[in-house]
């Protein structure tokens, strides 16, 4: 195996993050619990380079092993982008990790166990690239357990939050069920492989049911969504755990849930009806919301139901709609999480019932918030509009009622989002202006990047739609 193959394989990513995890563990043992942005960003940049090398290496066959010619081969690069879901997942994963690093406030305000974050990221890359369902489940169990431990660690540090342990227990209950379901499925598969038990339809149904439940909990679809909102609203100033959660959720959705549903019961009333109820429920739940950090969670709930509607009962082209929705949800939710984290870390803003006028001091954040929520409600000129066009274009003619339901849900979400925008960023400023209100360069960088991604892909969507449509097929 030559150096090029090693560098460009997904193993290198896992090794990188495991190494970073070990370094962080060593720092933590030396009581250096405070966050080191430089190190985290370096790891993310190296991972980004490795992901790009991955893309170059899996392009059309090259005549020689020259690394330069692989990297600079743009046309073969683009052809790889179009054909590999793994590559898209990897890029998205690195992108949102880097964004979370840039959003994270400076020490000593924040205590983050980056060892856990790196370990989870390594597991995620493993889950992206493994081909066997059994190995996927093993890594999924490990990831979920890491996630539970991370939530408990976080809860112990939230000294001003009375509900922290209630939330942690509830989240553990949900994800404990997911771990149990994955374990049962894994056990059945291993037993089936060894031949100890005869393979029957019943066992197959149990296996599928366990996988469905595990994946539904992981990506938080109705009615297994109970942990999502409290988790997203936990008053922490960083977005690492939500970012890990979103990555894991999308992985489970596309690798487990979507294939099962589309293959086995794509006309079942359950797999259509539940997401439809879920999207309306999420929209109604959001309508009276006043807690700032629940905004990303509420919109995330709506969009996972939209993705579930996309893959059920429709065709491969609708997978494209689901993937587009996934990308839009990731980017826009990340932007919202970052905005909420910024407002929380700077001003301790958590809930708003009266206008606070923060737009006077934070116009860039106001614009970022507005662009992100408009994208999540399908406003023209944003990535969300493209996703809405693709989704509704597929839904019409198959299920006309779906079009009405989606339109109603988007309407309710749009109003709720704008109302919260008005409450947070409009009105008489209630906080004094001082030097702390200026955004840092890293914050500007990530905010501008998110706005640019959403708007540029909304105005010139052909590249992203063409790229993702091949994956859908």
């Amino acid at each position: 195996m030559d150096s090029w193959s090693v560098l460009s394989s997904w193993w290198s990513l896992c090794v990188l993050f495991v190494g970073a995890c070990l370094v962080e563990l060593w720092r933590e043992r030396k009581r250096q619990l405070y966050y080191s942005r430089g190190f985290a960003l370096s790891v993310a940049i190296i991972a980004g380079v490795l992901v790009l090398l991955q893309g170059g290496s899996h392009s059309s066959p090259v005549p020689n092993d020259d690394l330069t010619s692989n990297v600079l081969s743009a046309s073969s690069y683009v052809s790889y982008i179009r054909f590999s879901a793994d590559y898209v997942f990897s890029v998205v994963s690195i992108g949102i990790l880097a964004a979370a690093i840039l959003f994270c406030p400076t020490a000593p305000l924040v205590r983050v166990r980056m060892s856990r974050i790196f370990a989870m990221q390594a597991l995620i890359f493993g889950m992206i690239h493994v081909r066997d369902t059994e190995w996927f489940l093993v890594l999924g169990v490990a990831l979920t357990l890491e996630f539970i431990f991370a939530v408990w660690y976080d809860s112990k540090n939230l000294l001003d939050d009375e509900q922290r342990f209630t939330r942690a227990r509830a989240l553990t209950a949900y994800h404990g069920v997911a771990v149990g379901a994955m374990s049962v499925s894994l056990l059945l598969r291993l037993v089936d492989q060894t031949g100890m038990l005869a393979h029957t339809a019943t066992l197959g149904m149990v296996d599928m049911a366990c996988l469905c439940v595990a994946s539904a909990i992981s990506f938080g679809i109705f009615p297994f969504h109970g942990w999502v909102l409290p988790f997203f609203s936990t008053p922490r100033a960083t977005v690492f755990l939500p970012v890990m959660c979103i990555q894991a959720g999308l992985l489970f959705f596309f690798r487990v849930y979507a294939p099962i549903v589309s293959t086995y019961n794509h006309h079942s009333l359950i797999f259509v009806g539940i997401p439809v109820v879920g999207i309306l429920y999420a929209a109604l739940l959001f309508f009276g919301e006043s807690r700032l950090k629940r905004i990303p969670g509420n919109l995330y709930l709506s969009h996972v139901c939209l993705m579930a509607i996309s893959v059920v009962g429709l065709d491969a082209a609708s997978f494209t709609a689901a993937i587009l929705d996934g990308v839009n949800t990731v980017v826009a939710t990340l932007g919202l999480l970052g905005v909420c984290a910024l407002l929380h870390s700077r001003f301790g803003v958590r809930g708003v019932l009266v206008p606070t006028g923060l737009g006077t001091f934070f116009p860039e954040i106001a614009v970022c918030y507005l662009v992100c929520v408009l994208s999540l409600v399908g406003f023209p000129g944003t990535l969300g509009f493209i996703e809405e066009e693709v989704l509704l274009g597929q839904a019409v003619g198959h299920h006309n009622l779906l079009v009405a339901v989606i339109a109603i849900a988007l309407t309710l979400n749009g109003f709720s989002s704008f109302r919260l925008f008005a409450r947070v960023f409009m009105g008489q400023p209630v906080l004094g202006h001082d030097s702390e209100t200026k955004l840092l360069i890293r914050e500007r960088l990530i905010i501008y990047s998110i706005i640019a991604v959403i708007i540029l892909n909304g105005l010139a969507p052909s590249f992203i739609v063409d790229s993702l449509s091949h994956i859908g097929h």
Binding site: A170, A173, A317, R350, L353, V354, G359, G393, I408, L410
Partner: protein, 454 residues
């Protein structure tokens, strides 16, 4: 004139405001945004170029009409957005015999309002924000008027809605402006459902449909959609044009600056619903029940507007209800098939109402100066035209009825919003209780109790 040259000129009608918007977007991140002269220059240039090009196209169309007796649609912008699985979405804009008048109206009024606003908002902290939103609105309204399909109209429709809400809440320091902006935005969002669903149903029923020559061909819809789609479009038009029962947002929308009120609720935005109905009437076969309902809505709105305008305490609200009643008459005209009359009525009304709203604040000011000069209240008989501003004592059952009706109408969709909020809080409490149950803890903080924790 060579059609290629005309297409190019027609495309500049949209491109000029778009370029202005892009320039302002970049300027917004620089210190230049506080330089009024720079902003004025850029906006004035963009608006003037758009107006000039629209005039050229308009003259060319008039010449074409007199020489050939018809006006063929002119495709000015064709930009494929994306396509996959036999479903393609293209951003197409066109100018034809109907929308050229609306485009001219939009460009003229935007220029007038721009000139007015340069003085009206001089040294206002929101100067840049106002002009940015006005240009964004102009781009949106041009998409509505120039869109070659209902889906393109929807794109512009959304821009009109969001800019309207943001301009209503322009003076953000007052709580009432924000509440009124939300009130209007709610009405817009609900009515947008109709256009969103209807446009997709039309696109699915008539693939690749683009607007053709005015009245040349009306497409029949499938029987199951023949009634639904026109009703959806009518529903949308009612919300945008503030027809009964979606009128309560219109007087609240007067919270914004006078110039934005003029261009939105006197000139352009309130007539977007009329334009949609004109397009629908021109392109689709509309069944009679829809036309009957359209006429009924228009008549009721007209009477409603007249009654409520009599009991308003401020001149802008009175003008708002007057606009409402005129738009109701336009609905009746469209339902009767008098499309040309409706177009002329719409354009004339837009100019008149824009003038009145722009002028009203000056008239009030002059009235107060006049009274101060005379040092006593003015005798109505001697006030001349200013007598219109002196409140007449009114009494009688009609006035009482109008007053009570206005009070009830003022709540409007607030009742629906309150109901939905109650349902939402019920669900939220359920979620919190469930969380407490499985987390073995007390229920979390009441969703109704929020606030800032500093």
């Amino acid at each position: 004139m060579n059609s290629t040259v005309l297409e190019l000129i027609g495309s500049v009608v949209f491109i000029a405001p778009l370029v202005t918007l892009i320039l302002l977007s970049f300027i917004g991140w620089t210190p230049l945004k506080s330089r009024e002269n720079v902003i004025k220059g850029i906006v004035a240039t963009g608006q003037s170029v758009a107006l000039f090009c629209a005039l050229v196209v308009g003259v060319a169309f008039v010449g074409q009409y007199f020489s050939t007796g018809r006006i063929l649609p002119l495709a000015v912008i064709h930009h494929p957005l994306f396509s996959f699985n036999h479903h393609s979405v293209d951003f197409n804009l066109q100018l034809d015999g109907m929308n050229i008048w609306f485009v001219l109206m939009a460009t003229v009024l935007s220029n007038i309002v721009g000139v007015f606003s340069r003085h009206y908002l001089h040294r206002d902290p929101g100067f840049f924000r106002f002009f940015y939103l006005i240009v964004l609105f102009l781009v949106g309204v041009l998409i509505v008027f120039m869109g070659s399909s209902f889906q393109i109209i929807f794109m512009g429709w959304e821009f009109v809605g969001i800019t309207s809400a943001l301009l209503i809440s322009f003076f953000t320091l007052r709580r009432e402006t924000i509440d009124n902006a939300l009130h209007a935005f709610w009405a817009y969002r609900v009515s947008d459902i109709g256009l969103l669903v209807g446009s997709f149903l039309v696109a699915a029923s008539i693939p690749g449909h683009m607007f053709g020559e005015l009245g040349a061909h009306r497409y029949p819809l499938p029987s199951e959609l023949a009634l639904i789609v026109p009703f959806l479009f009518l529903f949308s038009a009612m919300g945008k044009s503030a027809q009964f029962p979606y009128s309560s947002w219109l007087p609240r929308a007067m919270e914004g600056p006078t110039s934005s009120s003029a261009i939105f609720y006197g000139g352009l935005s309130i007539h977007a619903g009329v334009f949609l109905l004109l397009r629908m009437r021109s392109e689709l076969m509309v069944p009679t029940p829809v036309l009957v309902v359209m006429a009924a809505v228009g008549l009721v709105s007209c009477v409603y507007g007249v009654l409520l305008s009599q009991v308003q305490s401020d001149v802008k609200s009175a003008l708002a209800y007057a606009s409402l009643s005129q738009v109701g008459i336009m609905f009746v005209e469209i339902s009767l098939g008098w499309s040309q009359i409706a177009i002329f009525h719409c354009i004339g009304h837009a100019f008149l109402r824009t003038y009145q709203i722009l002028k009203c604040s000056s008239i009030i000011h002059q009235f107060v100066e006049f009274e101060d000069a005379h040092q006593h209240d003015i005798d109505r008989a001697k006030a001349g035209i200013l007598s219109l501003l002196i409140a007449r004592p009114r009494k009688g059952r009609l006035f009482s009825f109008s007053f009570d009706f206005a009070l009830r109408a003022a709540s409007g969709p607030s009742d629906i919003v309150t109901t939905l909020e109650r349902i939402s809080r019920f669900f939220q409490r359920g979620e919190d209780r469930w969380l407490a149950l499985i987390g073995r803890g007390a229920t979390t903080q009441n969703p109704g109790q929020g606030g800032i924790r500093g």
